[in-house]
């Protein structure tokens, strides 16, 4: 019995749960809740909930929810707080009594038993349930959470605060920033000098250094709008798009390969079309809402001929890692990039259980899973061409023909395998049924249960799929005791093997089953569950044979003449039978070698593209399957443990937050209901809906971070309840409102940000401000920062004059530190399996997941690159090659030229002297350790000089 004291205690806890403001009570509960979540719940999940959980309640017991554990099952309460001896759970796990030993497959470790025992002795604290078991979305208090967390509140335009430094205000951003500064007793910094400003703007908008002439012209231009004119010019140039597309590619975890694969093809030869799409979208300032639509629902848009290029946006979902073709992980990656990338929601947490902190139940995760699993990436031969060629070249025509041939080979084998598997499941039915009985402890005879039988290799779970055994088992589980074929099985299943023989006759008598089957059993009763299974299987097999013969004689037949036999045939191969598979379901039943075979056949198709780099560009977009696939919750994220089925719907959290402003959640459910197709369209529409509080906030926060090096919401990819609230909430909302007001124009947002005084501030430090706000969270100045590695590499090429003009097309398969690679870094092939050391040393993130903010580190390997790499040396050689061509220029003038080229300014006298000093050593003092260099050539001395200057901080810092 549960003591009244405990009930009181529980009631108090429930009350605490709703009174968040009650800090004292919270702090008392918190450590025990943490202990429960960290130590106790994992044990219950690991050992108990498979049989005592949401899906299955053996002996009527559930250990996944508090009420279930405390109320107990058929035997009584499993847990009695503070009473170890009365708690059946403890009796079971101690293995003390013969008839109650859990878990059935072996005693838990002693320290695990101790943990549970101590926990119960200490009162069995189990936090009040805010969330019911996985799969039950209705009871999830999503609306409550939506009502209380800032990020889910509607976006409203805040009023501009009044500020003291009004004369410095250039646009609304400054109102919000200055107001916070002034509140803290700080003043903004004055404008940066012209040189810093022009260089900052170039590195920020183009990712390339400003040239000397631009800085000079800007200095000389006294007009009021000179800065704005410069901004306009930079934003209009394609170089802006090549820089800003790269930011988005971090969100899109872009790479040109699938990552590790065992068999098949590992290249993504059309990935570049997505990269080119993003560049063009930024260049043409495609409104962000349309940008999102392109990336999620490409195949369902009706593009006019001049908009066909936008189909390539579909690559957003398909350029991720392929996890050695593991379908669950591929879909998880796609769910993650949508939810974290576009919405700042960490929905992936709900893959294994309802989200611990945010209102995202597993049901919503698996609803997204269903949406994405109802979509597929077609073979290369079926991907749409971005430009319909007028007359394909001979090579292109041959390429297409061969791809089609290879596709046909794949599809032939695919169909064959599908039919083969269906046939196997029928013709070896006895092996499957016996196997299933042998898996249960209650009915197993002997110890062996081989996957290889004398006749077949059973399609049991493998690491790559969950097989046909599961199909049979689920089917049997779903039968009732009155089922005409499996009823007797279901009745006998609850008996132990020792009781089988004694109970059989009575059970058979009570059952009204299929007459032929029942008669056979009555004539010769089986002695064990195994025999029952074998006999039923053999009966099925003979029916399968009969049907094959019958159909060969009566090709139009749709049933067997005898009713009882036909009833058995329906059970074996009628609708809903485990032996009737969709082609997709048959994939789940593949053996390892079949997976690899199909993978290789598909690889053959793709290799044809890899071998033909001139292939006409195709969009890597998802298409809807002919029939959408409904998803089940996977308990603990494991595909072999099916929970309840989930309909495909827009995540509840989104619906609830869309409804936040005026309309009801039910209205939203109606508005975004999925009637046909996968549902990607409806999902996309809910994401770009102007009532959606997340989309606009998430993108403006990213844009801010890309400009300022730090974000308003520090955790850019997580706007959930565990994120830090924004440093400037009103500014964030204002920007989000402003973006939608300006038709989602990212370029206008760029313009707004870089024309603010906040962005244009000097980078000089100030003692007062440094003491009060060393991290510059209030933006009292612009903090100089090291540029990203792409900017570093592009800058090195630009100042040496070696940067080429590549602007689209297949990725260049050269290493980024190859001295002969001269394209902008965005055009280089990214192999997610073998990232370049150059890139990773400079903090290039693993392109496997959305990365909102790259770390900025300074490690010696970066400097080794500058000191020794042939790449940097090559740029120095190019610079020196120009310098030595200057006839009649003094060394001073040559040094000045180098400074202008690299830093867009002349050297100071001190700097010039330092260089001259160095050059005197280099040229006139032959090195002692390498006498061969005794007469250093003019060329070599300038190479060394230029090489030194290329290593300077000034080149790679955004001032």
């Amino acid at each position: 019995m549960i003591s009244s004291r405990f009930l009181l205690f529980a009631a108090v806890l429930v009350a605490c749960g709703s009174l968040l403001a009650n800090a004292d009570d919270q702090s008392a509960v918190r450590p025990r809740a943490d202990h429960f979540e960290a130590k106790i719940r994992p044990l219950l999940i690991q050992h108990c909930t498979e049989c005592h959980g949401a899906n299955k309640q053996e002996s009527g017991l559930r250990l996944d929810v508090r009420s279930g554990a405390f109320d107990g099952g058929d035997r009584g309460p499993a847990i009695v707080p503070s009473d170890v001896d009365a708690s059946l759970l403890i009796e079971a796990i101690r293995y003390e009594t013969e008839d109650l030993q859990m878990p059935p497959d072996g005693r838990m470790e002693q320290d695990e038993i101790d943990l549970l025992t101590e926990w119960i002795a200490a009162g069995a604290f189990w936090p009040a349930e805010t969330q019911p078991a996985a799969g039950t979305k209705d009871a999830h208090p999503v609306s409550d959470a939506v009502a209380s967390h800032w990020a889910y509140q509607p976006i409203r335009k805040p009023a501009l605060p009044q500020v003291k430094h009004a004369d410095w205000v250039r646009n609304p951003i400054d109102h919000f920033v200055f107001a916070r500064l002034e509140q803290a007793g700080l003043a903004p910094s004055p404008m940066a000098d012209d040189h810093a400003l022009v260089r900052r703007l170039h590195l920020d908008l183009w990712g390339l250094p400003a040239d000397d002439d631009t800085v000079k012209a800007f200095r000389q231009d006294a007009s009021d709008d000179s800065y704005r004119a410069l901004v306009d010019r930079l934003l209009a140039d394609e170089r802006y798009a090549q820089r800003w597309a790269r930011h988005w590619l971090d969100v899109a975890r872009y790479a040109d390969t699938k990552g590790y694969t065992d068999g098949g093809n590992r290249e993504l030869p059309f990935a570049y079309t997505y990269r080119d799409y993003v560049i063009r979208a930024f260049h043409e300032d495609l409104p962000f809402d349309q940008f999102v639509m392109d990336q999620l629902a490409t195949d369902q848009m009706d593009y006019s001929a001049d908009q066909r290029w936008r189909m390539a946006g579909g690559g957003f979902l398909t350029v991720g890692r392929y996890f050695n073709f593991n379908p669950y992980d591929i879909l998880d990656d796609r769910i993650d990039v949508i939810t974290r990338g576009l919405l700042g929601l960490t929905a992936s947490c709900a893959r294994c259980h309802d989200h611990k902190y945010d209102p995202i139940p597993s049901a919503d995760y698996y609803s997204l899973y269903g949406i994405l699993n109802s979509s597929y990436l077609p073979h290369h031969s079926r991907l749409p061409l971005l430009v319909e060629p007028n007359e394909p070249s001979e090579a292109e025509a041959q390429y297409v023909a061969e791809m089609n041939e290879r596709t046909a080979a794949f599809e032939k084998r695919f169909d064959q395998l599908h039919h083969q598997i269906e046939d196997e499941l029928r013709k070896f039915a006895a092996d499957y049924l016996v196997y299933i009985v042998q898996e249960s402890v209650r009915h197993r005879l002997g110890e062996t249960n081989p996957v290889f039988t004398e006749r077949t290799y059973l399609r049991a779970p493998t690491a790559y799929g969950y097989g046909a055994v599961r199909r049979w088992r689920n089917y049997i589980d779903s039968r009732s005791e009155d089922d005409p074929v499996f009823g007797i099985w279901k009745r006998m299943d609850s008996f132990d093997k020792t009781e089988f023989a004694a109970a059989f006759a009575e059970q058979l008598h009570a059952w009204h089953g299929n007459t032929a089957w029942q008669q056979q059993l009555a004539n010769s009763p089986p002695e064990s569950m195994v025999e029952l299974a074998r006999r039923l299987g053999q009966l099925f097999e003979s029916i399968d044979q009969q049907w094959k013969t019958f159909v060969s004689q009566h090709p139009d037949a749709n049933r067997l003449p005898d009713d009882a036999t036909e009833q058995l045939r329906q059970s074996l191969m009628g609708p809903g039978s485990p032996t009737v598979l969709t082609p997709l379901e048959s994939v789940d039943c593949y053996q390892l070698d079949e997976h690899v075979e199909l993978r290789n056949l598909q690889g053959k198709i793709e290799e044809r593209t890899v071998d033909f780099p001139d292939a006409a560009a195709r969009a890597m977009l998802l298409r809807d399957r002919d029939e959408p696939v409904e998803a089940n919750v996977f308990l603990r994220g494991q595909p072999d443990r099916l929970g309840s089925e989930v309909d495909r719907h827009v995540p509840t959290l989104l619906l609830a937050s869309l409804a936040n402003d005026a309309e009801t959640e039910a209205a939203m459910e109606h508005e975004f209901a999925i009637y046909r197709g996968s549902g990607r369209m409806e999902l996309a529409k809910a994401i770009i809906d102007r009532r959606n509080p997340l989309t606009a906030r998430v993108i403006v926060n990213r844009m801010w971070q890309w400009h300022f090096g730090q974000a308003l919401v520090d955790s850019m990819d997580d706007f959930g309840s565990r994120s830090q609230p924004p440093t400037h909430p009103e500014l964030l909302d204002y920007l989000a409102w402003w973006l939608m007001e300006h038709d989602w124009s990212l370029k206008e947002l760029n313009r707004l940000m870089v024309t603010s005084h906040t962005f244009c501030q000097s980078n000089s430090s100030r003692t007062d401000a440094m003491q009060m706000d060393p991290a510059n969270q209030l933006y009292w100045r612009f903090v100089p920062r090291r540029a990203e590695w792409e900017v570093i590499r592009d800058s090195l090429l630009a100042v040496s004059g070696r940067l080429d003009q590549k602007r689209n097309g297949p990725s260049i398969p050269l290493s980024p530190d190859d001295p002969d690679a001269t394209c902008r870094t965005i055009f280089l092939r990214i192999d997610r399996q073998h990232a370049s050391g150059f890139a990773t040393n400079f903090d290039f993130p693993v392109p496997d997941m959305t990365v909102g903010k790259r770390p900025v580190t300074s490690v010696p390997q970066q400097q080794l690159f500058f000191l020794n790499s042939p790449f940097v040396r090559k740029q120095a050689e190019a610079l020196a090659g120009t310098v030595v061509q200057f006839d009649g220029k003094t060394d001073n003038a040559k040094i000045d030229w180098l400074f202008q080229k690299l830093f867009a300014r002349e050297p100071t006298d001190t700097e010039r002297l330092a260089v001259i000093d160095y050059r005197r050593n280099v040229s006139s003092e032959p090195s002692a350790d390498t006498p061969a260099n005794a007469e250093l050539s003019e060329m070599e001395s300038w190479i060394r000089t230029a090489h030194a200057l290329l290593q300077l901080n000034e080149l790679i810092y955004v001032p």
Binding site: Y260, S348, G446, A463, R786, V846, L864, F866, A948
Partner: protein
């Protein structure tokens, strides 16, 4: 939360350094100045997340050498003797249903005899006589188990604690937690002669941890030291010439920094240039085996595996935090066929050097502070592999039970932990999951595995996810 700084925001407290080294000091020897600074002003490297940090509590083990027998060492042929298997050789076994990757047949006795070694009398097969000789310093865990019978997920589980999704590797976590004791060498080094193992660089990935924490891969089949580390040597400039060039760089950098005196990133890079300069010598020196005395080289042996094991000792001596040694490209130990011939050859390539490593670390007083791990991603079946109807004299994958050896770093030597069933199919006594191994290793290194975390995507991630128990039995 990790107790020390997450490399998140930069520390701006560097006024004095740059004031003292600003404009007025251009005439001084820049090198001297920076060298002195680098020893006195540790905070100059706050932007360097690799600088050494303290763990959660004092611990014996300070570094790890992981000898990875990739492909899967057969435990019943090495560290887990099964007389019952010999008795029942050729017979079919009645065992609970265990799904492995392929089809197996009857029991196969080990072709390798076992002998007792040391005071502890632990039995080791003739595959690893040299490990037998140091067995009193070795803890043999015979009850390891993992989750899946396939290489890829098992490699990820062993290295990153999760079978499928992309998560940081053990070495990355450790380097994140402890930094590096030697600024002039990478903190985490992975070596494999002749190419990458299955799953390639993912075995030492940093995932969502900053990429500086990922392993640096070195192909030890390369014979020239300069080829081992990228950009470790300048082909055109002598050290003195490069020093002069660097002096100019630093002089100009200091002038530039003068106008940004509070900007730590700038000063961090100035400092980092000096580290890089020293690293050129330090790294070459660390990998140069020719400076080892003849008797030491003989003690380890001449195979590529022996060479990299000796390199690992040199790196450990020089403060590298985590060295992972792969036997070779792809998965050499995956002997589905002819286990006698194949395992025999592979063991002969590394047994002597592994024994030498443990002896050598001990004689240098480093064994206590160096945790040595020897093992694969799983074990192999006691039954013989069958293809068609033909016996292949090899063994299939077996993740239900396998052995792993640990030495040094506070591990209990001369001790056998746990057991598999009578045939070696399944761990049955004191079962130790890979998560438990990770939790215990982190404990030996001074970390509470539940607290070495990193916030990513709204969650504090850790190596052991929500699992892991510290197995105190194996701790000395």
């Amino acid at each position: 939360m990790f107790p020390n700084d997450q490399p998140k925001r930069l520390d701006f407290g560097r006024r004095s350094f740059l004031q003292r080294t600003g404009l007025g000091l251009a005439g001084l020897g820049v090198t001297d100045l920076l060298c002195r600074e680098s020893t006195t002003a540790a905070s100059a490297s706050t932007a360097n997340p690799l600088s050494a940090k303290s763990p959660h509590f004092a611990a014996k083990a300070e570094r790890v050498i992981h000898i990875f027998l990739n492909g899967g060492l057969s435990h019943v042929d090495s560290f887990d003797p099964k007389p019952e298997l010999t008795k029942r050789h050729g017979q079919s076994l009645t065992v609970p249903n265990l799904i492995t990757e392929r089809q197996t047949g009857a029991a196969m006795a080990s072709p390798f005899p076992f002998r007792k070694y040391g005071n502890s009398g632990i039995e080791v097969s003739d595959l690893f006589p040299h490990i037998g000789q140091v067995i009193d310093d070795v803890c043999v865990v015979r009850s390891m188990y993992a989750d899946l019978p396939n290489h890829e997920p098992s490699l990820m589980l062993m290295n990153c604690g999760v079978a499928n999704v992309v998560r940081p590797s053990f070495g990355s976590w450790l380097t994140y937690g402890l930094g590096s004791e030697n600024e002039n060498l990478p903190g985490f080094i992975a070596m494999s002669p002749g190419g990458l193992p299955v799953k390639g660089t993912q075995n030492w990935q940093s995932a969502f941890l900053p990429s500086v924490f990922q392993g640096t891969y070195i192909d030890t089949a390369k014979t020239k030291i300069d080829e081992l580390i990228e950009n470790i040597r300048n082909d055109q400039l002598s050290p003195a010439e490069q020093r002069r060039q660097l002096d100019l760089v630093q002089r100009l950098n200091l002038l530039h920094a003068g106008s940004h005196e509070d900007d730590n990133p700038l000063s961090a890079r100035i400092h980092s240039f000096e580290q890089a300069y020293r690293m050129q010598d330090a790294a070459r020196e660390a990998f140069d085996l020719s400076s080892e005395p003849e008797y030491i080289r003989r003690m380890y042996g001449e195979t590529p595996q022996a060479k990299q094991i000796l390199m690992a000792r040199r790196l450990a001596e020089r403060g590298v935090r985590f060295v992972q040694l792969w036997h070779g490209a792809w998965q050499p130990w995956d002997n589905h066929d002819k286990i006698e011939e194949n395992h025999g050859k592979l063991a002969s390539e590394c047994s002597q050097a592994i024994g030498a490593l443990i002896t050598d670390l001990k004689q240098r007083g480093m064994l206590d502070s160096t945790l040595v791990i020897i093992g694969g991603e799983f074990g192999r079946t006691p039954t013989v592999e069958v293809r068609g109807n033909e016996s292949k004299f090899g063994r299939d994958h077996n993740h239900y039970g396998f052995s792993l050896c640990l030495a040094g770093g506070g591990v209990k030597g001369g001790y056998v932990h746990g057991a598999t069933d009578e045939f070696g199919f399944r761990a049955v006594e004191k079962r130790m999951h890979v998560h438990d191994l990770h939790a215990t290793l982190l404990h030996l290194l001074g970390f509470d595995h539940t607290k070495l975390t990193y916030r990513f995507a709204g969650r504090d991630f850790r190596l052991t996810d929500v699992h892991g128990r510290i197995v105190s039995d194996i701790i000395a």
